[in-house]
């Protein structure tokens, strides 16, 4: 059971909620799919069991064979190839690995060369599995890393998998949502939060996923979000007030539920409600 935590807006508390809920559910798995800026490992400080290098397709060009016809440069829609001194050359960071240039080169001067785009750290913390994806700086997209995280997670067996998704509503979020069985939308009651929350609801609806909402950083006035949830038949399974002490713990990358019984109880309540919605 993959539960995806999404929000549209950044900094609403996706990591905070997914980490703390995962920490309260026995034998759960935490998957950090925010590969551009993964932070879950800072909280879990997992013992690393395995490193998986993620490769994307790339190409290398044999300059001795290249006759400078530039058919490959003309074919590449990603502008990943260019001519330099009458020879084709590749900018690996721009290559999407479609393999078109390999097919079009009549001199067979181009061949496939896997390029590393990132790494997945597989580890554990107590009885929780912790998988974190890291995109190499300079690389464009973590979609392949995300796909790989989910395929690794499948080998873990059954249980609840807490998926910490990236911000936004683009291709990486969609890749995550695609693999998830249930979505937990983390909403922040501010004008920015509300606007992005609505976009996120549209995304989950258009992808046909069931979802519940958790409000974070509440300062008492959450009417706009509560009303929107009601209109869209979205269950509200928790409201976390803004709390300076809690923020302090979170800023230090500590797991709040491990710090006090009171916080553990708050997260247990949210989990009870979320779980009953999932099982409904």
């Amino acid at each position: 059971m993959n539960i995806g935590f999404i929000s549209g807006k950044g900094g609403t508390g996706k990591t905070y909620l997914s980490v703390n809920l995962a920490a309260r559910v026995k034998g759960s798995l935490y998957l950090d799919c925010d590969c551009e800026e993964p932070n879950g490992h800072l909280f879990f400080r997992p013992s690393i069991d395995k490193r998986h290098i993620v490769n994307a397709c790339g190409v290398s060009i044999d300059a001795n064979r290249c006759d400078g016809c530039h058919a490959c440069v003309d074919f590449c829609v990603y502008n990943a190839l260019a001519m330099a001194r009458n020879k084709a050359m590749v900018f690996p960071d721009l290559c999407h690995g479609c393999g078109g240039c390999i097919r079009i080169c009549h001199m067979c001067a181009i061949e496939e060369k896997p390029q590393s785009i990132g790494v997945i750290m597989q580890g554990h913390h107590d009885d929780h599995g912790v998988f974190s994806g890291f995109l190499n700086p300079g690389k464009e997209s973590a979609v392949l890393i995300i796909r790989h995280i989910f395929s690794l997670a499948r080998t873990w067996g059954d249980g609840y998998f807490f998926v910490d998704c990236p911000p936004g509503n683009g291709c990486q979020v969609m890749e995550c949502v695609h693999h998830c069985d249930y979505i937990a939308i983390v909403a922040e009651p501010s004008i920015f939060g509300l606007s992005n929350f609505k976009m996120t609801v549209r995304l989950t609806e258009s992808m046909g996923k069931r979802a519940a909402v958790i409000i974070n950083k509440s300062m008492g006035d959450d009417d706009l979000i509560v009303d929107y949830c009601r209109e869209h038949h979205l269950p509200l399974v928790g409201t976390m007030p803004f709390d300076r002490a809690l923020a302090h713990i979170n800023n230090e990358a500590k797991i709040a539920v491990d710090e006090s019984f009171e916080y553990a109880q708050i997260f247990d309540d949210i989990w009870t409600r979320l779980k009953s919605e999932i099982e409904r």
């Binding site: 393999g99 700086p137 911000p167 509503n169 683009g170 300062m219 800023n251 230090e252």
Partner: protein
């Protein structure tokens, strides 16, 4: 012309909030929202009405003519993006997965595949004080980096020589961020005193460093954690990044924005600290 980009790595550190405040203090003529997956800066200008100025076409998408397709499966085996699926006796393209590479078209023996232009989003603007540019990515169209480049092209067409443009960047370090960095003159990193904020600042800085663009740091909500604020200052010093401002945490910032005001109206101490950051920024960009 000066283009100043606001980045953070981590989301929710206050990029948009601070962009709005600096735009007002600097009286900039152009404000650009490059966070196309979650655009928000227009919300700080409740009286402005954004108009679509251009459609955004992403990369073309493949389309298989079901009449001409013989179902040989060449396209299916050549596609690296798992974007082609069997459907009854022929094959169809999953537009969401298609990256427009044209390899399927190249391998199709029946010439049954065409590339089609697909609207992937919209670019909006409101010409006034300031001139506001924003964009929206259509659900599922992907390639937000290309859309970022397109908004910036619109800006380049309109902006005049001695104007300043403030660009609100996307979170992360991926393609939209890479696209937003191209051609800017100055970068402000907005961070917050959390280990996540610091970790993400280190990652984004690692990516930007090679390009030697003058940069500075603003620590937002700095009083939420003194020690981590100190760690951020140590990191900045090590990397010779000037810290141009430390803004305290104040819940009235959210209240002010919810009422259609900027953080400058939140409280005296917030106002003062943003003004100080702005003065230091001016010295650095002049």
């Amino acid at each position: 012309m000066k283009k100043i980009l606001i980045l953070s790595g981590k989301g929710g550190t206050g990029k948009t909030t601070i962009t709005g405040a600096l735009a007002r203090l600097l009286r900039v003529e152009y404000v650009v929202d490059c966070d196309v997956e979650a655009p928000n800066i227009h919300l700080l200008y409740p009286d402005t009405i954004l108009h679509e100025i251009a459609p955004y076409y992403g990369l073309d998408k493949a389309w298989i003519d079901p009449v001409a397709c013989t179902g040989c499966g060449s396209c299916f085996s050549a596609c690296r993006f798992e974007a082609i699926h069997p459907h009854q006796a022929h094959f169809v393209v999953d537009e969401m997965a298609c990256e427009g590479c044209r390899v399927c078209q190249l391998v199709c023996p029946e010439s049954a595949i065409q590339m089609k232009k697909v609207v992937g989003g919209k670019i909006f603007a409101c010409f006034g004080t300031p001139n506001l540019y924003s964009a929206e990515l259509k659900m599922g169209s992907g390639n937000s980096g290309l859309l970022v480049s397109r908004i910036k092209l619109q800006l380049d067409e309109h902006i005049h020589e001695d104007a300043i443009a403030l660009i609100d960047g996307p979170p992360g370090i991926g393609c939209p961020v890479i696209a937003s960095i191209k051609g800017v003159d100055f970068i402000i990193f907005v961070t917050e005193p959390s280990y996540s904020g610091l970790h993400d600042l280190e990652r984004i800085f690692k990516m930007v460093k090679k390009q030697c663009i003058p940069s500075a740091v603003i620590i937002n909500k700095y009083d939420l954690h003194d020690e981590i604020t100190q760690s951020i200052m140590d990191f900045a010093e090590k990397e010779s990044l000037p810290i141009i401002g430390k803004i305290p945490f104040d819940p009235s910032v959210v209240h002010a924005q919810n009422q259609g005001k900027t953080m400058l109206d939140a409280s005296y101490s917030i106002n003062q600290s943003v003004r100080e950051s702005c003065d230091k920024l001016k010295q650095l960009i002049d």
